[in-house]
């Protein structure tokens, strides 16, 4: 899949990974947004913005298929291959960083111990590979989850506030990983209250969509 996306990249127009049509979201009888429409192509990074409660998390969960889509459509022209990292990190306290990464990766591909150690090193957890997750700090736990970015071949990343809990160095590193992913034909949709330091970030401001919903 990965290779396929990569080869199509060579052609003139990058392939569309995600297409959103007239999407609306309603929670508990409050309409959050209506008529959302955008297309995520390979090589693009989308930053979903909006104040607290605007519906950023809800939107990401709809894209991932974790929240029902009652109105509108979400489609994946090249197949639904995505990596979703939400507020909850899916980290098991009783398992070590390496073990956690192992089962999380196994959901899609298999990985070797070496690959996992390399990924953990990239996210700055060298020396903590066999520490139990319960004994790690908030930022270190998030880093375990982010290590999945280095092992998962899915072209589309859906990341909910991936910059929280990371230290300042970590925030920079993470954005470097994003660039790397975009370069290899991936695409990213993320939410964040901090501004990204990258070029060509496409902004989707939900406060505008909220106005429309009212």
């Amino acid at each position: 899949m990965y290779a396929e996306v990569f080869t199509t990249m060579q052609s003139t127009t990058p392939p569309t990974l995600l297409q959103v049509d007239q999407l609306a979201c309603e929670r508990d009888e409050r309409s959050l947004f209506v008529g959302l429409q955008f297309t995520v192509k390979a090589g693009e990074i989308w930053h979903i913005k909006g104040p607290n409660g605007a519906g950023k998390t809800s939107l990401l969960r709809q894209l991932a298929g974790l929240l029902p889509v009652d109105q509108g459509q979400v489609s994946f022209p090249t197949g639904k291959q995505l990596l979703y990292i939400g507020h909850k990190l899916s980290i098991k306290d009783q398992l070590s960083a390496n073990e956690n990464l192992s089962w999380l990766t196994a959901l899609t591909v298999s990985s070797t111990e070496n690959q996992r150690y390399a990924a953990l090193e990239k996210v700055g957890l060298r020396g903590y590979e066999e520490s139990l997750a319960a004994q790690l700090s908030a930022g270190q736990r998030r880093r375990i989850a982010l290590a999945r970015l280095h092992l998962n071949p899915a072209p589309l990343w859906l990341l909910d506030e991936p910059l929280t809990a990371m230290d300042q160095q970590g925030v920079m590193d993470e954005q470097r990983w994003f660039v790397e992913h975009l370069r290899t034909g991936g695409a990213i949709v993320l939410t964040s209250h901090q501004d990204l330091l990258l070029d060509n970030v496409k902004i989707l401001d939900l406060s505008a969509a909220v106005e429309a919903a009212l």
Partner: protein
């Protein structure tokens, strides 16, 4: 898909191994309930021997019931369930993997220990094989039906008691056929019929519950 199932089984067994108490607990609960009975009711051998099969089965049922929490609760709380549901594999495979672990951890040890506790309650020796066999065929059914209950209550904030309410009525046929088999054996009557019923229920549960639990999990996810 097989490797997906195996990876879940391996992870869950690892989690259990990390705190072996988790594994020993249902077993200890089983023994404690059996032990409470003579204390609460009567230590007389005759009465005990009469009640033995029923008490062992009821204790097994309660022990299974109370260990159902380990099936999905923790995975829901830490977000693992989301990731498992997002994986390309079918959800019923996940359910089956979970059930296998649950049975290995709660059902099997209990079956193996049952002869000991049954002896403590003076179960007639000739009824022992029937007890073992009926538990061996019956406990997987309990785990399977339990998985549906556990899936239904994921995401529900109320404690682990709701699950008992949902699942116990479904357990009653298993209890009745199980104790029936032992009672028949004690009276020297054939038990094959009872075991056949238990087997039929197991097959039925295998066909229905993975679907039901998978649907319940997907529905429960929507609350997140």
């Amino acid at each position: 898909m097989m490797s997906f199932v195996l990876s879940i089984i391996r992870r869950d067994l690892l989690l259990v191994m990390r705190y072996p108490a988790e594994m020993v607990n249902p077993l200890v609960f089983f023994v404690l309930v059996v032990a409470l009975f003579p204390m609460g009711v009567s230590p007389e051998a005759k009465l005990l021997s009469q009640a033995a099969a029923g008490v062992v089965w009821v204790a097994a049922l309660l022990a299974t019931l109370l260990s159902l929490d380990i099936l999905f609760k923790a995975d829901f709380a830490d977000g693992s369930l989301e990731q498992l549901l997002l994986a390309p594999q079918p959800v019923w495979a996940l359910v089956l993997a979970k059930v296998v672990v649950h049975w290995l951890v709660s059902g099997l040890p209990l079956v193996l220990l049952s002869p000991v506790v049954a002896t403590m309650l003076f179960l007639p020796t000739e009824a022992m094989p029937a007890l073992l066999l009926s538990l061996l065929v019956g406990t997987p059914t309990l785990s399977l039906f339990g998985a549906v209950g556990a899936a239904l209550v994921t995401g529900v904030k109320t404690g682990g008691m709701l699950i008992s309410l949902l699942v116990l009525p479904l357990y009653i046929p298993v209890l009745l056929f199980g104790t029936g088999a032992v009672a028949a054996a004690a009276q020297g009557m054939p038990v094959a019929g009872y075991l056949a019923y238990l087997g039929a229920m197991l097959v039925f549960a295998l066909m229905v519950t993975p679907w039901a639990a998978a649907t319940a999990l997907k529905i429960g996810q929507m609350q997140g």
